[in-house]
């Protein structure tokens, strides 16, 4: 196992506000990581710190074994297109496509051309005149065709329709398979990307609350549904991740169950429902699902 990113006690304060709070994580080489959390949880700040765009208040960051801050050796291997990335206002799309490759040594022009066509991006349109989705497509293309060994995608698909999003996922997987690299995908459309992720980091209120392999997380929680008394009896002293109820019915999310426990639950007349990654994150970050989606 090889870490590309390693932080120890990393924090970033803005006055009284702590955007990133004592974060110690590692991102392994050539994996697709999901950086999940609510809006304002600290995702963008964390990525800004890891790419030397922000300055840490405390703690250490190693990217490829070195501090990324003002480090041309490290940063020439890194690309981070923000959700709200600013491009030179007088630029047309083609100016971006002409300048970005100079700073991304692994750029693949053919791949870029193909993506421009697939996303139907008008290259002679000024950046200012692009729709939100087209602007996102510019970031997606720079991020994918740049093939930086460490690529951050920050909510890369705001305004993209379902077809374009699927195109992004497909091209990402395809190109990642052929050119493995470390990818960090920050998003709140968790259901859509859950299967692409190998590793999941959930950040809430600046703190890391989950740092786990995606496969371990999947099936790590189950929702038990049934009459309140039966559910309570079954749940007992187990760790409860979330609880809802109507009248005499209760729906309680608990940590993973093994086969025997599942049989017991079935015998007690309880229904077991799988918990998706998105539901799990919602439970862990203490939001109602509706609220979570609304933050999109």
């Amino acid at each position: 196992m090889t870490a590309v990113v390693r932080t120890r006690g990393l924090s970033r304060h803005y006055g009284d506000v702590t955007a990133v709070d004592d974060v110690s994580i590692e991102f392994e080489q050539n994996r697709i990581h999901g950086l999940l959390g609510r809006n304002g949880a600290g995702k963008t700040t964390l990525m800004s710190l890891l790419t030397g765009q922000e300055f840490a208040s405390a703690g250490t960051i190693e990217v490829f074994g070195q501090s990324p801050v003002e480090n041309a050796d490290v940063l020439s291997h890194v690309s981070f297109i923000r959700e709200s990335q600013r491009y030179p206002e007088d630029f047309q799309v083609r100016h971006v496509l002409a300048t970005a490759p100079r700073f991304l040594p692994h750029w693949d022009q053919e791949f870029a051309d193909r993506l421009v066509e697939e996303f139907r991006l008008p290259v002679k349109r000024r950046i200012k005149k692009l729709s939100r989705g087209q602007l996102s497509a510019v970031g997606v293309i720079v991020g994918l065709a740049g093939r930086a060994p460490l690529t951050f995608f920050d909510e890369p698909y705001l305004g993209l329709d379902a077809v374009a999003r699927q195109l992004f996922y497909d091209r990402l997987l395809e190109d990642y398979s052929e050119h493995p690299r470390t990818i960090v995908l920050s998003t709140h459309l968790i259901d859509e990307v859950a299967n692409l992720l190998e590793h999941v980091v959930v950040i809430d209120d600046g703190r890391i609350i989950v740092d786990e392999d995606a496969e371990t997380l999947r099936g790590s929680a189950t929702t038990v549904v049934g009459p309140r008394t039966a559910v309570d009896a079954f749940v007992g002293t187990r760790e409860v991740l979330g609880r809802e109820g109507i009248g005499g019915l209760a729906s309680v999310t608990v940590a993973g169950l093994d086969a025997d426990e599942r049989r017991d639950a079935a015998a007690a007349g309880l229904e077991l429902a799988p918990v998706s990654l998105q539901q799990l994150v919602v439970r862990l970050t203490g939001t109602s699902e509706k609220e979570f989606e609304k933050s999109a």
Partner: protein, 254 residues
């Protein structure tokens, strides 16, 4: 877990700075075309005024008596000041973009500085050529003096140095202002301008109270245009350092 190390593939510094120069030039509209249009427009206005005088007096030789006036015209000054605008626009536009692509602030600042020095050279050459034409055509046939205004001196080399220093000064004044803008947005620039006004007024007061205006005037006369231009390099260097001091802690915002 071990740590991934880098296969050193970072381009050399010269190449990295060259890439920043090209970034500023990627869309020549803002940094080259518009300033040239501004210059052309100002030139056209000068010529129009000269024509009015010639036609109004009905005698082209009559304009000669106005050439004294023309040589004090500061029209070409506006193009210097405009370079401040160019530097602010260019750096405000590209800073966040360059950092997103993994450029260090240091490379970005040095590359931008190289760009402005190259621009100053190019503009000085243009002024020198146009100045030569102006002299050869006796002020475009009407004793117009735009590129050979009296402030530049009568000697071409001295003129070139003065023009070059002026361009440098305004580019780096723009760079410092851009750094303030990138870091603190419009509010920062406003505060800076108000502060600058206070400092200048304060200096004026001190000079007035100490009755030193004649000395100041004498210094300008003694130094001559060339001397003042060379002294401006000190100020330019200070602006360049100030710009870097501000930009090195700037963070791109959405």
């Amino acid at each position: 877990m071990t740590t991934a190390t880098l296969t050193p593939s970072t381009p050399r510094l010269s190449r990295r700075l060259g890439d920043i120069v090209r970034l500023h030039l990627a869309n020549p509209m803002t940094v080259i075309v518009v300033p040239l249009l501004v210059l052309t427009a100002m030139f056209a206005v000068m010529i129009a005024i000269a024509l009015m005088i010639v036609i109004g007096t009905g005698d082209s030789s009559a304009a000669a008596s106005f050439s004294k006036g023309f040589q004090y015209s500061g029209t070409s000054f506006y193009i210097f000041v405009y370079m401040m605008v160019v530097a602010v626009q260019a750096m405000n536009a590209t800073f966040a973009y360059a950092l997103g692509l993994g450029v260090t602030r240091r490379d970005y600042y040095l590359g931008s500085a190289v760009t402005w020095v190259l621009f100053s050279v190019a503009w000085s050459i243009l002024f020198l050529v146009l100045g030569a034409i102006e002299q050869a055509t006796r002020g475009w046939g009407m004793n117009v003096r735009m590129f050979t205004a009296i402030y530049y001196g009568e000697e071409p080399v001295g003129r070139a140095v003065i023009v070059f220093c002026a361009f440098l000064f305004f580019f780096f004044a723009g760079t410092a202002a851009a750094a303030v803008f990138v870091r603190w947005k419009a509010l920062g620039v406003t505060v800076m301008l108000v502060g600058l006004a206070f400092v200048l007024v304060g200096l004026g007061f001190i000079v007035t109270l100490t009755a030193n205006w004649p000395a100041v005037g004498a210094w300008f006369v003694a130094s001559g245009p060339l001397g003042v231009a060379l002294w401006s390099l000190v100020l330019t260097a200070l602006l360049a350092v100030a710009g870097w001091a501000l930009l090195r802690r700037a963070t791109p915002r959405g």
